[in-house]
Amino acid sequence: MNETGPRLLQGNEACVEGALAAGLRFFAGYPITPSTEIAEICSLRLPQVGGTFLQMEDEIASMAAVCGASLAGAKAMTATSGPGFSLKQENLGFAAQAEIPCVVVDVQRVGPSTGMPTSPAQGDVMQARWGTHGDHEIVVLSPSSVMEAYTLTITAFNIAEELRTPVVLLMDEIVGHLREKVTLDAAGKLPVVDRDKPSCPKELYKPYGPGQGRLTDVPPLAAFGEGYRFHVTGLTHGEDGSPTNNPKVGERQILRIVQKIASRRDELARFEEISMEDAEVVVVAYGGTARSAKKAVRDARAEGIKAGLLRVITLWPFPETRVAKLREMGLKAVIVPEMNMGQYVLPVKRVIGDACPVIPLNKVAGQFIEPKDILEAIKGAM
């Protein structure tokens, strides 16, 4: 393996390549369209690098096994689609609460329920943010090309390891099943981050000790079997990992799992900008839909319309600072095309406020939004 040079790859395949490059050693999953290729390729490739692939009895078990493997020291991932993503939510919350690094891939299809299993949608944007119960922050990344499925999977692992948190790679059927010519080497040797390990004497280790005492700190994580003999629970816990009913200790724990991510909102924010300098209408798009948006903006420019694209890559935490700058541009409108009934448009509207109209452009029929649809919206806003 480790092929070099140009290859024709599918988004799902590129995701596995990225995961392997990031050091993936454990995958647990359950067959579900349109993410199944990720499991299939992992079943072939992981054993070749000494890793483990498990097809579990259900989606819940897959997410549980990923958490267990990560606590035993392995970089771990699972992949699914809407119905399975719903089933994973409880243990995704466990990973957020117990601060277990892992990557969850959701290749979105049309919902609710079984919906249209082979058709694209972006209906899980809010589920990715709020699908599990209780207050928490989560990092959600959305690629819009095959190459980016590769690079962003590496980024997802790096963020998971650095911040001891689950990271959701929110793909959609368009990107997951898209085939493009890519040269993975062209990305260069991307940095790979490994979680911090404790350096203190074993008996002093506190798996949830906030280091310098700041709420934004990420405590180092020992692996089970390294002799630290520590406790992990989904109950609200103190620094030693033991459950607590002390309101102050409990509040501090929740604030910390929120703050460690929220405080890094700007450094986590990733986006691509096209023709933004003098734009009068800005399209805010992500994932597969951003491909159509790119073409629409190019076509609009060809007709002399000053359109721009802000392609959001880090969906959550919401890139508040960057989106707020749109307020100062004197825009005629912001257009938010999404393959859902209007989910990401909500925080965009909240931040843009009354600075200019924020126009949703939605499609839920299992078909992608075409460039001409977006071009039409741009023209309508001028």
Binding site: Q48, E57, S62, A64, L71, A74, A76, N91, T233, L235
Partner: protein
């Protein structure tokens, strides 16, 4: 003088949350005695649990311990074992946790014959939520959600796990505390999926509603209804009625253990990819 098992406890986390008269302390002690007699490496032993009264045990035990979500201890444990097969993984669970919400995981782990030791503290009731019926609550007995008596048939957990392919299946009770220790020892030593059903009294939420109010009443009930397995085999069907066997009910030696089988798969895959 320190208790000989104190070194296995996070003494600072005591007292435990269990009610007076609860059997879970007896089962936990049996586990620790087994660990002690086997001289397990405490740095290479992981104890995993789900949700419920019994699942609180790991919080008091000084190993790597993981208190997971309801019913999911076994798949978490599966991830741990497969990521690092050197670790010895013990799962502590209850009847609701293992047989209701986690039933699917229980049978699939048994089918894989993965080297986990699952100890099910079976008090035949949901104690943590104050006494609802579980899939093993005996027919006719009362629970907070069975005010007219339990009308659903029960699982026989040992038969269930044996049927699903578990290679070591045993039952004990809190009355038979020393034999329970021996059973757990044997389960831990067994390479493959081992399951121990440990009947454990819940006087607070089961006994109170079922005319077994005093903890001793329930222990005597175990004494009077449990039959050692060798004796059990000699009984007629009529004699077996209302009784149950304790001891090692199934043991298959040398069945392929899953993490070992997977290590061999890795070796084959590596050989092929290098060829």
């Amino acid at each position: 003088m320190a208790h000989p098992l104190e070194k296995y406890l996070r003494a600072g986390k005591l007292p435990h949350i269990w009610c007076a008269g609860c059997g879970h302390g007896i089962v936990t002690q049996a586990i620790l005695r087994a660990v002690d007699e086997l001289q397990l490496d405490t740095e290479k032993t992981v104890v995993v649990s789900g949700i419920g009264c019994s699942s609180r045990a790991p919080g008091y035990l000084h190993f790597d311990t993981l208190h997971t979500t309801h019913g999911r201890a076994i798949p978490f444990a599966t991830g741990i074992k497969m990521a690092n097969p050197e670790l010895r993984v013990i799962v502590v669970t209850g009847d609701g946790d293992a047989a209701a919400i986690g039933g699917n995981h229980l049978i699939h782990a048994a089918r894989r014959n993965i080297d986990l030791t699952v100890i099910c503290f079976n008090n035949t009731i949901y104690g943590m939520t104050s006494g609802q019926y579980s899939p093993v609550t005996p027919g006719g007995s009362f629970a907070s959600t069975a005010p007219y008596g339990m009308v659903e048939p029960s699982f026989d957990l040992c038969t269930l796990v044996a049927g699903a392919g578990g290679t070591f299946v045993a039952r004990g009770t809190t009355y038979h505390a020393r034999p329970l220790t021996n059973i757990i020892k044997e389960a831990i030593k067994h390479e493959g999926f081992s399951f121990v059903e440990a009947l454990s009294q819940c006087p607070t939420y089961y006994g109170r509603r079922n005319k077994l109010r005093a903890p001793l009443d329930m222990l005597y009930w175990y004494r009077d209804h449990a039959v050692g397995v060798s004796q059990w085999e000699k009984l007629t069907d009529d004699e077996k009625a209302g009784k149950f066997p304790i001891g090692v009910l199934k043991k298959v030696e040398h069945a392929p253990e899953f993490s070992r089988v997977y290590s061999e798969l890795i070796a084959r895959a590596r050989e092929r990819s290098e060829a």
